[in-house]
């Protein structure tokens, strides 16, 4: 790992990370501020007949909307904020990872960087570690903001351990999108369209997960979505990490990262 390159990568993506952080934290605080109003105004009672309508019920199920969950601040957080956080941190992660190698080639700075005295392993290591560090920071700050919001806007006490255990899924989802981004970045031959492709992957897999939850007949398509492996049943007693899901995340991240590393080692740098 080359520390000079690692530091420069962190510096290069600093502003982008700050913008995403402001957006994510702002949305978390804004949404959690609505919790009290949500309870006070009796909105839950108004929502109940809507959730039970035969036409809307499957869709609401897809979104995880349940009265029991919404009336608990932790459940409210998971239903309303988790998808948003996963989507936004996922987009940040995939976009950062995609630009790690692809930008050097398409902005034609690769020739400068790859003629410095470093092995390809050192270049890959420094860039990936910088990306992981940024992902760790953005997820940590999002979790911290979520925790502070819960503390500020809670109306009654709640279990803290499930909240922190659940936040591990956020980090794993981000890393999964980052590893998909790494593959794209390593194999991409053209720069055009990579941004749109990255956003489409995050949004597409999110909607696949939603569709898979609507009915039994579509359940199987959820398996290809990282969102499927986030255990949102946070209110169950003794909530712990689902080892099967966690293992799936870790295996996917390792396989995709290894693939992009091996591809990068043998890649011709033409720009």
């Amino acid at each position: 790992m080359n520390y000079n390159l690692f530091k420069m990568e962190l510096y290069r993506y600093k502003n982008s990370m700050l913008i995403w952080l402001i957006l994510i934290c702002g949305l978390i605080i804004l949404d959690m501020a609505l919790y009290e109003i949500f309870l006070k105004e009796g909105m839950l009672k108004n929502l109940e007949p809507l959730l039970n309508q035969p036409f809307l019920a499957p869709m609401m199920k897809g979104f995880g909307m349940e009265i029991e969950k919404l009336s608990n601040i932790l459940g409210f957080y998971v239903i309303r904020n988790t998808p948003l956080i996963l989507l936004l941190t996922g987009m940040f992660s995939i976009l950062t990872a995609v630009s790690l190698f692809a930008n050097e080639e398409f902005e034609k700075t690769a020739e400068f960087l790859y003629t410095r005295p470093m092995t390809r392993t050192e270049i890959f290591g420094a860039k990936v570690l910088a990306c992981m560090t940024l992902i760790f920071i953005i997820n940590s700050v999002a979790v911290l903001t979520g925790f502070v919001s819960l503390e500020i806007f809670k109306t009654e006490d709640y279990e803290k351990a499930p909240f922190f255990i659940h936040s591990i899924y956020g980090f794993l989802t981000s890393l999964t999108f980052a590893s998909i981004g790494l593959v794209i970045s390593a194999v991409a031959k053209r720069g055009r369209g990579l941004f749109a492709l990255s956003v489409a992957i995050v949004m597409g897999t999110y909607f696949l997960d939603l569709i898979s939850k609507v009915s039994e007949s579509t359940a199987y398509i959820g398996f290809i979505s990282p969102f499927h492996y986030v255990d949102n049943d946070i209110l169950v007693p003794d909530y712990t990490l689902n080892m099967l899901y966690t293992g799936t995340f870790v295996a996917t991240i390792l396989i995709l990262t290894l693939f992009s590393y091996l591809y990068f080692l043998k890649k011709d740098i033409l720009n």
Binding site: N4, L5, R12, E111, R116, D268, I269
Partner: protein
């Protein structure tokens, strides 16, 4: 023990799909020399350089730079080599100083004195952002970054493009100084005049293969002479048919050609003609270059 060559390639080949980049390239550059590598665009100059830096992988063959294998020991090569690319693209948000400091940190160097000296020599302001620089100034940045770590080998790809004549002469002075310090220079260009000014040996590359490798002096002196003959009006239809005459051109009663045979044979032939004027000169490198190219194109022996 014999010191390794600065650059040595053995049957090095690279294809881009069906297109040939270079084909069975055998090249040897001695330590301490200034070696010219000339050829038109697409001849394989940049492909060769990219292979030496392991930016791309060869399909076959092998190569060593400063004794290090171009694939397995690329990091060692890069740590002792400076590279000035043909196209200059840097991180546009950085200032010149930030970029140069960033670059030298990769070599474990922090020599602000040398950085400032080189910037002053080339009249380059280091507080400017890269995005605000002209092509010529970007080229200066590129030159400085290639020299900061005092490399043993300097690989230059079209180093003078975009530079005004005054800066070009300064740049040549810097190259000569570096060479006096012991630095080997590999000078790739299609500007023959530049190669002529500074190089001791030259390789001419065409369609991925070296078609001639000679010292600049030998290339000029070995065979070719540039002959201009003016004839009186009544002999303006004469066409000399000596086999050693090449690149023959006639404008009215003036004949211009290159001659690569026995001079006595030419004199004997011309003695039978009534001549108004004759001049025998050394051809320019440009003319030699074109001669080799046209011969290679037509498949004639060089």
């Amino acid at each position: 023990m014999e010191k390794s060559k600065a650059i040595e390639t053995i049957s090095l080949s690279k294809n881009y799909g069906k297109t040939t980049g270079i084909k069975n390239l055998d090249l040897t550059v001695e330590r301490g020399e200034i070696f010219g590598f000339i050829g038109p665009n697409g001849a394989g100059k940049s492909t060769t350089i990219r292979l030496l830096f392991n930016l791309i992988f060869p399909n076959s063959g092998s190569g060593k730079v400063l004794g290090y294998d171009i694939i397995k020991q690329s990091k060692d090569i890069k740590s002792k080599t400076g590279y000035l690319p043909a196209e200059v693209n840097y991180y546009y948000k950085m200032t010149v100083k930030e970029l140069l400091e960033y670059s030298q940190r990769f070599y474990g160097v922090n020599d602000s004195k040398r950085l400032n000296e080189l910037a002053d020599d080339l009249d380059l302001k280091t507080n400017l952002k890269i995005r605000d620089l002209s092509l010529g100034n970007k080229k200066k940045v590129s030159l400085i970054q290639s020299l900061l770590h005092k490399p043993e080998l300097l690989i230059l790809d079209e180093p003078t493009s975009g530079l005004d004549p005054l800066i070009q002469s300064k740049v040549f002075e810097i190259f000569k100084k570096e060479n006096e310090r012991g630095c080997t220079i590999f000078f790739s260009s299609h500007v023959l005049n530049d190669v002529q000014k500074i190089c001791s040996r030259v390789a001419i590359i065409q369609k991925g293969s070296i078609i001639k490798l000679e010292s600049i002096d030998a290339l000029r002196k070995k065979m070719l002479k540039k002959i201009s003959v003016s004839l009186p009006d009544n002999q303006s239809d004469i066409n000399p048919d000596l086999p050693a005459i090449v690149d023959f051109k006639r404008v009215n009663n003036h004949m211009n050609f290159l001659f690569n045979g026995d001079m006595n044979e030419l004199i004997s032939y011309l003695a039978n003609l009534k001549i108004e004027n004759i001049s025998i000169e050394e051809p320019t490198l440009e003319e030699i270059f074109l001669h080799y190219y046209q011969n290679a194109e037509s498949g004639n022996e060089l």
